[in-house]
């Protein structure tokens, strides 16, 4: 059985990565051609890794379920990407970015990984500019920065409200170049169904061609999973409809441990829920908190009147407004980290001050900044976001304050990886949001793009080579091997089993039910009784699913319901693990808030004596998981209470 070895290089923090690179094993060019790498997922991490490894001379196969690599959900990231360039001369440094990220993650991330992330952040900006990513610029032609939650410096680079799109298109361009050159082969509309393990090492995958329904076997000397997060376990989230946990769940069942599943991020600024037919939630970028002020009415009767449509936001006088973030956190104000802002909004709504027809919304108001800067400046900064809001809500946010409420957005937890991004299965790697490594218990804004590209461009291409250097004598294997045949057979029988249920309720019915359980008991605030109840309810729902799900059509053709069913089957197992992990962690930290563990002011109460560890779960059997602890050692940073007041 694998052991928990994070393989952090020795030596001082600031030189660990340099030392690693100086001493790692390399593969010579003629051997690179003989080595195959499978990458699953074409978001920032997957595309960047595929392009970089292709450039280096490896043979890469890359897979995505969408019709094109450019559709991956990294495309939807709005606000920006952090880097420690210190262009605004406001005192930023690699150390500060490192420190803010560790603190933002509530002291539950690995120091060495985060320091490396901060170190390569500047290379990312250089790389993207060289690719022609149209970042925002000052009049003199240099790059412009803005501030983001959890930091007191302006270190966020952005391309309007479409930063993720522009960075992904940069990586997609680099990937397309390698596809043209023949170093990378693209398999679009393909979904990874399982990993194939030969003699204890990952050696390939079983993929399903979503158009024909055919199962395919693919060999690789190494396999990289870069399939994003598992936020859709909540059904309603800001993730894309197709975002799923299946790849990281299948590798979990084959021995790749799952770390900190309960660290999920609820984003404070999303468009509120409006009906039970709703299929997803839309994010309004955190960057809006630079110029927007968050408030609710001071008087309950005003909130009540607004809920019944009898009072307009603009008619509530200044002195009757409670700018609760500025009140509670004067030092950071509206720019507190996401978990803090989300809980503060929930607290106000639970106390009866929420607005909008459901009472589950707070105002995000631009009146003051429009008055100070002019409408055109606000339009230049956030035009596309304001337009999107108006299309969805049918209200003009230049004139009326936006209404927002927290929603599930990002998952800090994920596949456990060591310093080399290798999972607990040899030869199997995880990159980007799919892994757990850099954000601890809470991710700061504009850090997801940074981590995805850091892993893809600057970390994995080195570390995977260190592994592959030991594989140069392994010839390409035939996929007729028994291990491939067995893996394919297992996938085949699972799909047959799903189709054969022929029950009475749709896949979406079960997904929505799961979402309700997760949001109610495993959402923004959790407690012991609720989590135990959630585990029971999920078990029951899972049993019902396998008895009563209805999937029309057959498996040897395009079948969207079958694709969804396969993903929801995995969410129904993951949900249970998430609740177990939340139950195990008897403390509140970052995105994980246990009602039993809070300070008198309602802030997170961490328990560093007992829980300063990464919870890495091993799959034993369905509904049974074994906990392994990776203790976190802080050598550079003093572990403190996280205060933004």
């Amino acid at each position: 059985m694998a052991e928990l070895n994070s393989k952090i290089p020795k030596g001082p923090l600031t030189s660990k990565w340099t030392h690693y690179k100086d001493h790692q094993n390399l593969v010579n060019p003629s051997n690179k051609r003989k080595l195959d790498i499978i990458i699953v997922g074409t978001g920032l991490a997957g595309s960047a890794a595929a392009a970089s490894l292709g450039e280096m001379g490896f043979n890469v196969k890359i897979f995505c379920y969408q019709d094109s690599p450019r559709r991956a959900h990294s495309i939807a990231a709005q606000g920006g990407i952090n880097a420690a360039k210190n262009y605004p001369n406001d005192g930023d440094s690699i150390y500060r970015l490192f420190y803010d990220t560790i603190k933002g993650g509530d002291y539950r991330a690995r120091e060495a990984n985060v320091y490396r992330l901060a170190e390569v952040s500047n290379n990312i900006i250089d790389q993207c500019v060289a690719q022609g990513v149209p970042f925002a610029r000052e009049y003199g032609g240099s790059l412009e920065n803005r501030s983001f939650g959890g930091a007191q410096v302006s270190r966020t680079f952005f391309a309007r409200g479409q930063t993720g799109q522009q960075l992904l298109l940069g990586a997609y361009g680099a990937l397309s170049r390698q596809i043209k050159l023949g170093t990378v082969k693209l398999y679009e509309r393909h979904e990874m169904m399982d990993v194939v393990i030969v003699d204890g090492k990952a050696r390939g995958i079983i993929a399903r061609d979503l158009i024909t329904g055919k199962l395919e076997r693919h060999f690789g000397h190494a396999v990289v999973v870069a399939t994003g997060g598992y936020g859709n376990v909540f059904y309603l989230s800001t993730n894309a409809m197709g975002s799923n946990t299946s790849a990281i769940w299948q590798i979990f069942k084959k021995g790749a441990w799952f770390a900190n599943p309960c660290f999920t991020q609820i984003h404070p600024t999303c468009i509120p829920v409006h009906g039970d037919y709703q299929s997803k939630l839309t994010l309004m970028s955190e960057s809006l908190r630079n110029d927007g002020r968050i408030w609710v009415p001071k008087r309950k009767e005003d909130a009540e009147a607004h809920r019944h449509g009898k009072l307009k936001a603009n008619d509530i006088a200044e002195e009757n407004r409670d700018y609760f973030l500025e009140r509670r956190y004067p030092a950071f104000g509206n720019l507190v980290p996401r978990d803090v802002a989300s809980r503060a909004a929930k607290e106000r709504c639970d106390a009866g001050y929420g607005v909008g027809s459901t009472g589950l919304a707070v105002f995000l108001d631009f009146r003051e900044s429009i008055g100070r800067l002019g409408k055109n400046v606000i339009e230049e900064r956030y035009g596309n976001l304001f337009q999107m809001y108006e299309k969805i809500v049918d209200e003009n946010p230049y004139e009326n304050p936006m209404m927002i409420y927290p929603a599930v957005h990002y998952t800090m937890g994920g596949t456990w990886v060591d310093y080399e991004l290798q999972t607990s299965v040899t030869g199997l790697f995880a990159a980007g949001e799919a892994n757990f490594s850099d954000h601890g218990a809470n991710r700061l804004g504009a850090s997801a793009l940074m981590q995805g590209l850091a892993d893809g461009y600057f970390v994995l291409p080195y570390t995977i080579q260190n592994y592959l250097a030991g594989e140069i004598r392994v010839a390409r294997m035939s996929t007729d091997k028994a291990e491939f045949a067995e893996a394919e057979k297992a996938v085949q029988s699972r799909l047959e089993k799903l189709i054969a249920v022929k029950g009475s309720r749709s896949v979406d019915h079960f997904h929505k039910e799961l979402g309700k359980i997760m949001w109610e008991y495993v959402g923004m605030a959790r407690n012991e009784a609720g989590l135990k109840k959630a585990i029971e309810l999920i078990k029951k729902l899972r049993a019902e699913f396998w008895k009563d799900v209805k999937i029309p059509g057959d498996m040897n053709a395009l079948n969207v319901e079958l694709e969804k069913a396969n993903r929801v089957a995995d969410f129904l197992e993951l949900g249970e693990l998430l609740a177990y992990d939340a139950l195990n962690r008897n403390e509140s930290c970052g995105g994980h808030f246990r009602e039993e563990y809070q300070t008198e002011e309602g802030e997170c109460k961490r328990n560093d004596d007992d829980y300063k560890y990464v919870a890495a779960w091993e799959y034993v059997s369905e509904g049974e998981f074994r906990l392994h602890k990776e203790e976190l050692a802080y050598e550079e940073i003093e572990v403190k209470q996280r205060i933004y007041k």
């Binding site: 610029r137 032609g141 679009e188």
Partner: protein
């Protein structure tokens, strides 16, 4: 709202398709267009019929996956939105809505409303990038870009690759899509070195794949969900002429 839907149903790429009529009741005006289709599909599944297949993913107007031709317009009756951002309040109670896939030869139908747009990827593979390897980039602020050009480059780069421009064009021309990428790089110093090769190769590929030519009706610009300007086509033509002549 009560609606009558006429939807293109086609079993696979080889089969002949046809319109099938469905009726729906109790649709909220705040429902998005794709959520309305979700409701229809739930009903079809309940009746043991195969749900309508359509492409969609992010549902926030940025991934470019949704591709519905609604009442004779790509992405439907609202301006500057993708179908996933279109809401039912743009329709009236009792309306009949006709839903088709993108209609263009280079985008063959896969099933029902789902089409194959890999032709766009193939055009990008010909040069829709700057040839720079990972790791070799210079300090970012060594490359200065004037704000005006940088904003224009961003306007062009905002293209989501949905293919509405091709679907709207009577010639199934991809010129708005191709010119947006060419413009982005033509406006930036980083793009100058490969400019000639880029425009020649991308245009050649576009022609090879069966996309038509531009006859200046600008239906593409009118239907583009991201308001990509036709001036990009002019810029591409200029780049192309220069590349051929000089």
């Amino acid at each position: 709202m009560k609606l009558t839907l006429k939807i293109w149903r086609q079993k696979d790429a080889k089969s002949i398709g046809k319109f099938v009529t469905y009726s729906l009741d109790n649709i909220s005006p705040n429902c998005s267009f794709l959520e309305m289709l979700d409701i229809l599909n739930e009903e079809l599944i309940g009746k043991n019929e195969e749900p309508v297949v359509f492409d969609h993913d992010c549902r926030e107007g940025i991934c470019g996956m949704c591709s519905l031709y609604i009442n004779g317009r790509p992405h439907g009756p609202d301006d500057a939105v993708t179908a996933c951002q279109l809401h039912m309040r743009k329709f009236r109670d009792g309306d009949t809505i006709v839903i088709e896939p993108w209609r263009a030869k280079p985008f063959p139908v896969i099933k029902d409303l789902m089409v194959d747009r890999t032709a766009f990827d193939k055009i990008i593979q010909e040069g829709g990038y700057i040839s720079v390897n990972t790791g070799g980039a210079a300090e970012a602020n060594n490359i200065l870009v004037g704000k005006e050009n940088s904003e224009l480059a961003m306007d062009a780069a905002a293209c989501i690759g949905c293919g509405a421009c091709v679907a709207a064009c009577k010639n199934a021309s991809a010129m708005l899509f191709v010119s947006a990428k060419i413009s982005q790089f033509a406006l930036l110093p980083q793009g100058q070195i490969e400019a000639k090769q880029r425009v020649k190769r991308m245009v050649k590929k576009m022609d090879e794949l069966g996309f038509g030519n531009c006859t200046n009706t600008y239906a593409c610009e009118a239907e583009c969900p991201k308001l990509i300007s036709r001036s990009n086509i002019a810029r591409m033509n200029r780049e192309f002429m220069c590349a051929k002549v000089i």
